[in-house]
């Protein structure tokens, strides 16, 4: 799984962009989006996904269940 940003709730504050250890977040059409190919859910980096921890709007950076769980490469 990766995280995704619910666009309708995003305030475009950009706080998540700077915190992402994978540079997976960028601005698109006025709000921010997470590239699921780059997102590691912060596994191996931090205790909790950084985008969700810094986001000012609750339940805006959420797990995208349409992707399989991220595996730390062996």
């Amino acid at each position: 799984m990766a995280l995704k940003i619910i666009a309708s709730q995003c305030t475009s504050c950009s706080a998540c962009e700077a915190e992402c250890p994978n540079v997976a977040i960028s601005e698109k059409n006025g709000t921010f989006v997470i590239n699921p190919k780059k997102c590691t859910e912060c596994l191996g980096h931090f205790d909790a996904p950084q985008c969700a921890a810094v986001c000012p709007v609750d339940n805006t950076c959420v797990i995208d269940t349409s992707y399989p769980r991220y595996q730390i490469p062996a």
Partner: protein, 520 residues
């Protein structure tokens, strides 16, 4: 608008020589020793007051640090810092409405390059713009790259503009050296508590060292970092103002303790602001029905902290993209589209010449006040009362009652006239005819005042104000505020002494919570 007020100022009386006035300013013992109620707000007397010279030099043209300067000099904020690292219960970043004026709200974000261009455009259009601040809409130090890049660009192209920033303090200790390196000489820290138990009621969480902290633990980290940052700044000679939001029932009494804590760590000015809280803002406090303080509650708290240190009372709690004199907002004239089309040549000499004219006007205002004050010297009376003033700047009574978006409030006593605050109101006059509903709003906002000084006022509102017990005064149109207020007060005391008038105290007034409607 500004050109005409300048002329009004120059024609308001013969100018004494500058030397004579500076002598008077030097002799004037300042805010601290004149009034019966202790130290006045910084610069609310004529000028330097009891501030050390090196501090006075730094603040004298800074509208947010000197009450006296805010009548003459303008500031602008550039919204280059959208990210924030804490959550406050009085802030909601989700809604942005152009008609709203409160911190944390902006209409558009700027890149550092756009911000630098905007500063040049504004500085060329408004020569009395002397201060550039970064205040958000998030926290400047949660966006350090954008904030410091903006400072770098501006210090290259407009070296005469003072740089300042306003922060929640969480990241402050990490950036103090960079702040010093960019010659940022004014920093404002918002400190609402020094007790983590109280902090937990104001801050639901902070984001620090890659982790979200909540509750008392979060508030403990925040207060430690804020006070550490304050100490580090004052050690380096960087001026610090502390902002506190007064939240009745949460931190109102506690702010006296905050005042002591920040004073002992070298903050030179404390600005206690009323909570802005309404359900339509969508903030936690707005939704829980947490009320803001009344005008009397706010003034009582400010007065009780005043013995300790300088208090600021002219804060307009402006937006993170505000432009112009405090109390006005010209940001709509300088949207990104408009700036990018503007051809801007930075005229440093022209700005200096203009500011020299402003200085002459300030000196004349101080002299006029001192002269009038001298005539009060023999008077003795226990009467202290408030008056409201309609002004659009330059320290003059130069606004029509119906055009005033706010009223400035002065406390009058035999010690003189002291600025104690301002009241936002809706525009009363829209399209040239009066509107009953908004007149009531105005009366509620200045209900604690005995008189309102205006440049002009229509017959209808005049009658209604008189009925409400507020005397409309239009006999001092385009004259200096403090001089006029003192002259009027003298007349008032004479009438009371002769028995022509009976003095009654007035009631409380409301601090407006809703949106400030943009004039144009």
């Amino acid at each position: 608008m500004h050109a005409s007020t300048q002329q009004d100022g120059a024609s308001a009386g013969a100018l004494p020589t500058i030397d004579a006035v500076m002598q008077q300013v030097a002799e004037h013992k300042g805010c601290g020793t004149q009034g019966g109620s202790g130290k006045a707000s910084c610069g609310s007397a004529a000028g330097q007051g009891d501030l050390p010279t090196e501090i006075w030099e730094k603040v004298k043209n800074h509208p947010c640090y000197s009450e006296e300067a805010h009548h003459h000099y303008a500031r602008m904020h550039v919204a280059v810092a959208p990210a924030c690292n804490i959550q406050c219960n009085y802030c909601n970043r989700k809604y942005d409405c152009a008609n709203e004026s409160r911190p944390g709200v902006v209409s558009e974000r700027l890149t550092p390059e756009q911000a630098a261009k905007k500063v040049l455009a504004v500085a060329s259009t408004i020569p009395q713009m002397t201060v550039l601040g970064i205040a958000g809409p998030g926290d400047p130090l949660a966006n350090p790259a954008k904030t410091f890049k903006t400072f770098e660009l501006i210090s290259q192209t407009a070296p005469d503009i003072k740089l300042c920033l306003s922060t929640n303090g969480l990241a402050l200790p990490d950036h103090v050296d960079t702040i010093a390196r960019y010659n940022v000489d004014h920093v404002t820290i918002t400190i609402n508590m020094v007790d983590p138990e109280i902090g937990a009621m104001i801050y639901p969480w902070i984001f620090w060292k890659h982790k979200r902290y909540t509750g008392v633990e979060a508030a403990k980290i925040l207060t430690d970092r804020q006070l550490q940052g304050l100490e580090m700044l004052t050690e380096r000679g960087i001026l610090c103002k502390v902002n506190s939001v007064m939240i009745p029932g949460v931190n109102d009494r506690h702010l006296v303790e905050v005042n002591r804590a920040v004073k002992s760590r070298g903050a030179f000015l404390h600005n206690i602001m009323p909570l802005i809280s309404a359900p339509e803002h969508g903030t936690v406090f707005g939704l829980t029905g947490q009320r803001g303080p009344t005008a009397q509650e706010l003034k009582a708290l400010q007065d009780s902290c005043e013995g300790e240190m300088n208090m600021m009372r002219h804060c307009r709690q402006c937006r993170a993209d505000a432009v112009g004199l405090l109390g006005e907002d010209r940001s709509a004239e300088f949207t990104t589209d408009k700036i990018m089309e503007m051809e801007v040549a930075y005229d440093l000499d022209g700005r200096k010449a203009y500011q020299a004219k402003v200085e002459e006007e300030r000196v004349a205002k101080v002299a006029a006040k001192q002269e009038e004050l001298a005539t009060l010297a023999g008077e003795s009376s226990d009467i202290t009362l408030l008056v409201a003033v309609a002004t659009k700047g330059s320290g003059l009574i130069n606004e029509h009652f119906g055009h005033a978006k706010e009223f400035q409030v002065y406390e009058l006593s035999t010690a003189g006239a002291k600025f104690v605050g301002h009241r936002r109101v809706d525009l009363y006059c829209q399209g040239g005819y009066g509107d009953e509903g908004s007149l009531e709003t105005v009366i509620r906002a200045i209900n604690d005042c005995h008189a309102v000084f205006v440049a002009k006022i229509g017959g209808c509102p005049k009658d209604d104000l008189t009925k409400a017990g507020i005397e409309p005064v239009d006999g001092y149109a385009h004259e200096f505020i403090e001089k006029s207020a003192i002259a009027w007060f003298k007349g008032y005391l004479e009438k009371v002494t002769s028995g022509a008038l009976e003095h009654h105290p007035r009631g409380d007034a409301a601090i407006r919570q809703g949106a400030l409607i943009v004039a144009a």
